[in-house]
């Protein structure tokens, strides 16, 4: 792999707090190594800003290995940037070339208010989970794990849905700011397992109600969510969610 160094023009959203209007600011960054991760490139810029006496750019990040779901940002119009199936923290600078202009914005949705700069609040997701994204089993109530055999394919499919990291890229990517992929991943994870069966009707109805209450848009099946999901969660989960919802409603839940 040939490494190279690049100079970039960054256009970054700055917003002091939730009440601030916010605006774009432009920064030149030079001698960025193609080996750096995208967030390390911003680290470099932040170090410079601090040395110059200005405030650093706030952004969410934690594990930096693509699993915690904390990092966000919309990079040139794409949540988590141009690489498919990759979080911002795993995006590396070799995705860009010398002289590129990069526009960096926060995830935008009414349900995800900006906290500062590129940081948004995603507590709406927590409240959706609170509405029913669980199996009601108190500690100590469990029978032996092998009492209930589960079809391997079902378990695998459930796992594929459970792999959602709750980052909110689906909402950010959706032209409607809809949270359907997130909600459907959780509903699918639990509906595919026999343990989730007793609560499945109530779960889907309350989670959808909470989702609407939070101010997310409605799904119009453009599938931008799937295209941008760093864990490549399938939109077929949305079809399953719709089935679950219809079933629950038809049976009078």
């Amino acid at each position: 792999m040939q490494h190279y160094s690049m100079n970039l023009k960054l256009k970054i959203w700055r917003q002091k707090n939730i009440n601030d209007q916010g605006h774009f600011e432009e920064y030149d960054v030079n001698n960025i190594s193609s080996e750096m991760s995208f967030l390390e490139m911003i680290d470099v810029l932040n170090e410079r800003l601090i040395s110059e006496g200005s405030d650093s750019i706030a952004f969410d990040h934690d594990c930096r290995e693509g699993i915690c779901g904390m990092c966000s940002m919309v990079i040139n119009g794409q949540p988590h940037g141009p690489w498919k199936g990759t979080t911002t923290c795993q995006l590396h600078m070799r995705a860009f070339k010398d002289g590129d202009q990069i526009t960096i914005e926060p995830f935008r949705a009414n349900a995800f208010p900006v906290v500062k700069d590129l940081m948004v609040s995603r507590t709406a997701f927590d409240r959706i989970i609170q509405a029913g994204g669980y199996i009601s089993v108190n500690t100590g109530n469990a029978v032996d794990g092998n009492t209930l055999p589960i079809d391997k394919d079902m378990a695998d499919e459930s796992f594929a849905a459970a792999a959602c990291i709750g980052c909110g890229a689906c909402v950010a990517a959706c032209k409607n700011a809809s949270a359907m992929l997130f909600v459907s991943a959780k509903v699918s994870h639990l509906a595919l397992l026999p343990q989730g069966a007793p609560e499945r009707k109530q779960r889907v109805v309350s989670m959808i109600a909470q989702m609407d209450k939070e101010g997310f848009g409605s799904c119009t099946n453009t599938y931008a969510c799937e295209a941008e999901c760093p864990k490549e969660i399938s939109v077929l989960n949305i079809a399953r969610l719709n089935r679950e919802y219809l079933n629950a409603n038809l049976s009078g839940q």
């Binding site: 190594s33 080996e35 930096r64 290995e65 915690c68 500690t139 794990g145 589960i150 343990q195």
Partner: protein, 656 residues
């Protein structure tokens, strides 16, 4: 003398007897008792959820934007449990024994046996919560084997076991939030512990969004705040992982145990430059088929594929002919460091060694040819067949490597280097997980208790959930049963006022320095000192120097750090400054502990104490104790908790 309060009686009856006789709190009283849980990883989420279910009034805190983001989520491999589903002779005793031996005989028998006992309930609980563990075609749970054991007892969910377990615990927690038993405070950081009449009675938390300091009362405080691996700056820990909560407790009287016991994982993707902010683990299983080497010539800059066979040094195979590339973690890590320090490292940073699959590809390719009866085929066909086999076995790891480095590991050897990823040390706790401060508990990686000097793979998840689901719900009641008459203490109590003032003074002091150097630059320098002198190999000389250097760094930090932004607003640099300031103090204690322990054991390798062939040389006569450090104004007092092995007979760990 420290008393671990291990119940009397036979090892395998201690926990049962404890549970049967422990004091209880009746439901009406539970509703009046408030508990604070700091941290929402496996230990924190499971504890908060379980205590909420029991009826306590719980407040949970995490610095991330959601409890689901805690770093337990990044654990890959799996979780151990003595289920013996594979009928391969596993048992509670074997899991107990493997853990004690793996910890190089520096853990308590009583605690570890309890861990092994409750391990089976963890799996049941998680399955009931809907954790999608890997399954066999028959629908039953699947297991795999892991290092340091001879049985298959590891349960897993692809390479995302930590994520699935944490989501299970997170969902249980959110359920309690919905039911009103748990109050969740995300984007909050504990900055001070409040002690009233010798008992932990609450915390001062900083709202990271507004910068406000908040007072929270509780009858008991649980620290589930993870490990302190980020003292090294570069580690596999999350960027926000920190020691602050534990350190505040330590400075208020909680003893810190075995801080020098840190685990270095041999196969991580190496540092690519000064900009590097964190390290990523590559599964250790890669050493099964890969060969590790460096150029035989110092400073050889040729690309790996251009270095002929006779000019390569397969140093593990050379030094350890019996185990070759499969030597234990600590040995592999130290050997890689030795080669790189001697100037044989590869890559642009020269801090890496090759993990080469070329031989494995050829071997598998040839096997395929004979398996498929292909007869005489070209070298290219063999190579392609071999690549396919490797892809099937390790495809996802190779893909991850390529994403990070941009190199194709099927064509060029991978570059790897050891990295910090777990800390066995932590707050000293007794059998009940209580620290030396009454009413203050430490769970999971934040405590020191179960892994001795070295942790076995797939045991961290087990311990976190054991503590949260199955230990603290019993042991906490034993304390709170005597506290039912204490009503909620109003937060205008002088102790709260003083604690908040202390926290506020510190923040003001940090902001008023207005120096020239960034927080990040201090953290990097601290990391380098600790990594170089208290990392994979330590010696008395280096440790003494490190202590001096860390002290100097501390002075420099407090006189020249530059923090932008405001106090009463979101300010990530200020958050980081507080954490780095605590890491600097901890760094000194780590070196002090490493200096005091004149032996080598587990992850602690003192160069002066090794066998003639370079193995760790334990000193059971002199050091079979837990080193518990008590903080004092400008120094530390050492308390020793002797380890008594009643069942297991300590012996030399040998891999030859």
């Amino acid at each position: 003398m420290l008393d671990a309060k291990i119940p009397a009686g036979k090892l395998d009856e201690k926990w049962t007897k404890y549970k049967g006789t422990v004091k209880l709190v009746n439901p009406a009283n539970k509703r009046k008792l408030e508990i604070i849980v700091v941290g929402t990883g496996l230990a924190g989420s499971s504890a908060a959820a379980s205590l909420g279910e029991m009826g306590y009034k719980v407040k949970a805190f995490c610095f991330q934007d959601s409890p689901r983001r805690a770093h337990s989520i990044a654990a890959q491999g799996g979780i151990n449990a003595a289920k013996n589903y594979q009928n391969d002779g596993d048992s509670v005793y074997r899991l107990f024994y493997d853990t004690i031996k793996g910890g190089d005989y520096r853990a308590r028998e009583g605690n570890v046996h309890r861990l092994a006992e409750v391990s089976t309930s963890i799996i049941d609980q998680c399955v009931a919560q809907g954790v999608p563990f890997a399954r066999e075609y028959g629908g039953l749970l699947s297991n795999r084997s892991f290092g340091g054991t001879q049985v298959q007892r590891t349960f897993y969910a692809a390479g995302q076991t930590g994520q699935q377990l944490l989501i299970g615990a997170y969902q249980a927690l959110e359920r309690q939030v919905a039911l009103g038993t748990v109050e969740m405070h995300a984007r909050h950081e504990m900055v001070e512990l409040v002690i009233i009449d010798g008992k932990a009675r609450g915390i001062i938390a900083r709202n990271l969004v507004t910068g406000e300091l908040e007072r929270h009362f509780a009858h008991a405080v649980l620290l589930c705040t993870g490990g302190y691996g980020n003292v090294f700056y570069l580690s596999t820990n999350a960027m926000g992982s920190n020691v602050t909560a534990a350190w505040k407790a330590h400075k208020q009287g909680a003893f810190f145990a075995n801080p020098c016991f840190t685990q270095i994982h041999p196969t991580c993707i190496p540092v690519s430059g000064d900009h590097q902010s964190k390290l990523t683990l590559m599964s250790e299983s890669l050493r099964n088929d890969g060969r590790i080497w460096v150029p035989a010539k110092q400073g050889d800059n040729r690309p790996a594929n251009e270095i002929p066979e006779e000019e390569r040094d397969y140093y593990l195979e050379r030094r350890y002919p019996a185990f070759g590339n499969l030597v234990p973690r600590d040995v592999a890590s130290r050997a890689a460091k030795e080669r790189c320090d001697a100037g044989f490292g590869v890559g642009s940073s020269k801090q890496a060694v090759y993990l080469d699959y070329a031989a494995a590809i050829q071997r598998y390719g040839k096997a395929e040819v004979s398996k498929k009866n292909l007869g005489n085929v070209s070298a290219e066909v063999i190579t392609n067949l071999g690549k396919e086999v490797v892809k099937e076995k390790y495809g996802n790891l190779f893909a991850m490597y390529e994403k990070i480095t941009g190199e194709n590991p099927y064509e060029v050897p991978m570059r790897i280097y050891p990295a910090v990823h777990y800390t066995m040390g932590g707050l000293w706790v007794d059998y009940e997980l209580k620290t030396t401060i009454d009413g203050l508990y430490a769970l999971g990686e934040a405590n020191f208790s179960e892994h001795g000097a070295n942790r076995l793979g797939a045991s961290a998840l087990m311990q976190g959930l054991a503590d949260g689901y199955f230990v603290i719900p019993y042991t906490l009641g034993n304390y709170l049963a005597d506290d039912i008459r204490t009503t909620s203490i109003p937060t205008d109590h002088p102790a709260f006022v003083a604690a908040e003032q202390k926290a506020s003074d510190r923040i003001n002091k940090l902001m008023s320095i207005k120096g020239k150097q960034t927080v990040e630059s201090f953290h990097k320098r601290l990391g380098k000192i600790i990594w170089d002198k208290c990392g994979m190999a330590r010696n008395a000389e280096g440790l003494k120097q490190a202590i001096e250097e860390v002290r100097a760094l501390k002075a420099e930090f407090w006189s020249d750090v530059r923090i932008p932004g405001e106090i009463n607003a979101m300010n990530p640099e200020l958050d980081k400054a507080g954490r780095v300031a605590d890491f600097i103090e901890l760094g000194e204690l780590m070196c002090l502990d490493a200096l005091e322990r004149n032996e080598s054991c587990g992850g602690h390798f003192r160069e002066e104490y090794q066998t003639p062939d370079g193995e760790a040389l334990r000193d059971d006569e002199g050091y079979m104790y837990v080193a518990a450090w008590e903080h004092q104004e400008n120094s530390w007092n050492l308390h020793k908790e002797p380890l008594n092995y009643e069942v297991v007979k300590p012996s030399q760990r040998s891999y030859k």
